[in-house]
């Protein structure tokens, strides 16, 4: 298994770690039993644009890097666009992931979707 430089960069100096203040969409996927949990925090403005995003991740290097990259990719996008982010987009942005780590990118995409769902649910109330 070999990580790309981009993965290592995003692992050692991950962007957007922590809990964004005023987050109004939060999504969590994974389980510790499987070795990964990803929690995504979104701050979405009234125009449904993602103003800021952050993550907290329990997981391997690829999970951390995927979280970092994915949050970075959706900031400034509309929730519609962000919901379309696929795991392959994340993998491509990372310059590739080892086969056995692809599922980490899947988790990242799922976590974002979950956070957007959460935002929509909150909004409706």
């Amino acid at each position: 298994m070999e990580y790309t430089d981009v993965v290592m960069e995003n692992f050692t100096c991950p962007k957007h770690v922590g809990e964004v203040e005023g987050a109004n969409g939060i999504g969590q996927v994974g389980s510790p039993a499987c070795g990964d949990i990803m929690k995504i925090f979104l701050k979405i403005n009234d125009d449904d644009i993602i103003e800021d995003a952050s993550f907290k991740t329990f997981g391997c290097g690829a999970a951390v890097a995927s979280s970092s990259m994915a949050t970075d990719m959706i900031i400034g996008k509309s929730i519609e666009e962000a919901a379309k982010l696929t795991n392959s987009d994340v993998v491509d942005a990372l310059g590739g992931l080892p086969d056995v780590k692809i599922h980490c990118s899947v988790l990242a995409a799922e976590a974002i979707q979950a956070a957007i769902e959460d935002y929509k649910k909150n909004k409706k109330k």
């Binding site: 298994m1 990580y3 290592m8 692992f11 050692t12 991950p14 770690v17 922590g18 969590q28 996927v29 994974g30 389980s31 510790p32 039993a33 499987c34 070795g35 990964d36 949990i37 990803m38 929690k39 907290k56 991740t57 329990f58 997981g59 391997c60 290097g61 690829a62 999970a63 951390v64 056995v100 780590k101 599922h103 988790l107």
Partner: protein
């Protein structure tokens, strides 16, 4: 950057003295040991000298030492060879839940071929119970295979006591001593063991050479059929160079056994004390006393093992983890699960295994840096003491099962 290698349980660098011993067999001494001319006889001689070195290290007879292509091959040979040869007597085998995959997967393969295997459980320290063993023995039990010392958590099993129980019943006893060699004394005259697996690359020898000790008279089928090498028991042109290297490595390991063990134990205790005292929410895996001198195995709550390894690697430290993420599977180490750890915790394990060249500075450096690394990763984690996640809930949810 200076590298600090703390994964001696995975493999060790070749000792320069061992390399020096093996080099002549790579640059010259290339004869086929089965050939009768000068070149062949010279190669044969160096192999027999190595056989004597190995035999001496475990107090065996040279005719009981058979070279194999790895520790894994030795395990496969012992278990399949005994099973196939003795199946008329019975098809029941006893092993444990914490064996190396070379034993475990071999047993599982035999289960598919109609054998029955009882896997003895272990307690929270990784020890089997002699009572369990006694209860597991049946009329049709033909083999007991229990490892000498565990490669992940370092726990040393009561091999002598096991041997006594097994011998009384006339059952064949195999032990995987790949991790024991060079770390704790192995004396086949003292132990009631019939077969022992060994591997060179754990004791500063090269990779790709192992030994199966077979007590004289033990009925066993071959695993690799073919030429008459190894007294017709293991075919294949002999790996002269690596055999010579294994011989030398075993000799050195034996000569310096006590001194190396004391050195490793001392540093290990510093390491364990440092980590346990300086880092909160950590547990030591494996038996507190009855463990390999160089082995330290921790679980750090709320974080995952691979990210610890990567962080250590970046600052020059090599360690290993029972986390699934390091193995290409998604299940964490079967050993950590067997000692009762929840999967989520098992994912946060770190094994640091000390070698003969490890120094106190190395250990201090690692402890100091681990404090920082663990803190950093915990900050990044969505779970913590206030916000723990119930494994059970997630396991039931089954959302991310593969």
């Amino acid at each position: 950057m200076k590298r600090i290698y703390l994964d001696h349980a995975a493999t060790t660098p070749i000792d320069p003295i061992v390399l020096e011993a093996m080099l002549p067999s790579l640059t010259g001494n290339y004869g086929n040991p089965s050939s009768i001319y000068v070149e062949g006889r010279a190669a044969k001689k160096s192999i027999e000298a190595a056989r004597l070195q190995i035999a001496t290290a475990i107090n065996a007879d040279t005719r009981e030492i058979y070279f194999t292509g790895s520790g894994s091959e030795a395990d496969n040979w012992a278990i399949k060879g005994i099973a196939m040869k003795n199946q008329a007597k019975g098809k029941h085998i006893i092993s444990t839940t914490i064996e190396h995959h070379a034993v475990l997967h071999t047993c599982q393969y035999l289960e598919k071929q109609g054998f029955e295997v009882t896997y003895l459980p272990v307690d929270e320290n990784g020890l089997i119970s002699l009572d369990d063993l006694k209860k597991a023995i049946r009329k049709d039990t033909i083999l007991v295979s229990i490892m000498f010392a565990n490669n992940e958590i370092g726990t040393i099993e009561p091999i002598k006591a096991i041997g006594e129980i097994v011998k009384e019943k006339g059952i064949i006893f195999h032990t995987d001593a790949v991790q024991a060699l060079g770390n704790i004394p192995i004396d086949v005259k003292d132990l009631n063991v019939d077969l022992i697996s060994l591997s060179a690359h754990k004791i500063y020898g090269p990779k790709g050479i192992g030994v199966l000790y077979i007590r004289k008279g033990v009925p066993i089928d071959n695993l690799i059929h073919g030429g008459a090498q190894e007294r017709k028991k293991r075919a294949g042109t002999e790996n002269t160079a690596e055999i010579v290297a294994f011989g030398k490595a075993a000799e050195l390991a034996n000569q310096h056994l006590e001194e190396n063990a004391i050195h490793m134990k001392t540093l290990r205790d510093v390491l364990i004390k440092g980590v346990m005292e300086k880092i909160p929410q950590v547990r030591l895996n494996g038996h507190p006393q009855q463990r390999l001198p160089g082995n330290a195995n921790f679980c750090f709550d709320y974080i995952e093992g691979e990210s610890i390894l990567l962080s250590l690697d970046i600052i020059g430290v090599a360690g290993s983890s029972g986390s699934a993420c390091t193995s290409g599977s998604l299940d964490p180490s079967h050993v950590l699960l067997a000692i009762g750890l929840p999967a989520g915790v098992a994912h946060g394990s770190l094994r640091l295994s000390i070698g003969k060249s490890t120094t106190l500075e190395d250990i201090n450096y690692v402890v100091d840096n681990l404090v920082v690394i663990i803190e950093r990763l915990r900050k990044m984690s969505p779970i913590n003491a206030e916000c723990p996640i119930d494994d059970a809930v997630f396991e039931k949810a089954d959302h991310h099962k593969h």
